[in-house]
Symmetry: C2
Subunit: 111 residues, 2 copies
Amino acid sequence: MARPRTTPRTVEHPELSEVTLQQALEALADPVRRMVVCQLARAGGEKGCGTFETPVSDSTLTHHFTVLREAGVIRQHYRGTTKLNSLRTAEMEARFPGLLPAVVTAAEAEA
Amino acid sequence: MARPRTTPRTVEHPELSEVTLQQALEALADPVRRMVVCQLARAGGEKGCGTFETPVSDSTLTHHFTVLREAGVIRQHYRGTTKLNSLRTAEMEARFPGLLPAVVTAAEAEA
DNA sequence: TTCATAGTACGACCGCCATCGAACCTTCAG
DNA sequence: CTGAAGGTTCGATGGCGGTCGTACTATGAA
């Protein structure tokens, strides 16, 4: 039977109501993670993990994606071997009004 | 002559243009510093160093004030033996539009 | 002048987090 | 089945930052 030999890869996402301001700020306070967020914002949609420009190794990047995901900033899901990332823009806006736009805008302006 | 025996105590403040987003976010990402900022926002004006409610020692609090000042978030000046603190609200708004209000609002809402 | 109050400077400590490389898992193409 | 590409997991490491206590300085009051 054409069935996966193991469980398909899924990703856990927190409800934004479970995310603290502390988590969100810590997530956004790292320069590499801000690069990721800005590149996502610029892309406007989904973006594969391997398509980001950062100065760190793959394993470190995995760590940063995890932090962003657990902070509710990004959503991730698999398509084949590729993992796609997108911003949880609307949910973040509902939870922390103005925060994400302020950070992205400031980051873009600085670059 | 009624003159101070040593130089009067002054405090250095950065121009907001010299402050990076990194500094601002790091400053705001610490829970104790956010307490300070929120209590200042609530006070609406100046507030002596000793009038803040925090779980840390005086010397640690001094450290946090320094970080906030160097991040351009607060302004400090002496009056007698008291050091007064206030938010650089307008300048922060010009440099990082929306950031400080977003953080303060979220912090108030969480508390 | 002396004392009390307000805050600072300094040094030490400790824990956390960003980072890496190596080994591994999952999926798709041949 | 086999290989290769895309990510992950794991353990180790290193540095930075939050914390404290103690000693100190500055100011104003008695």
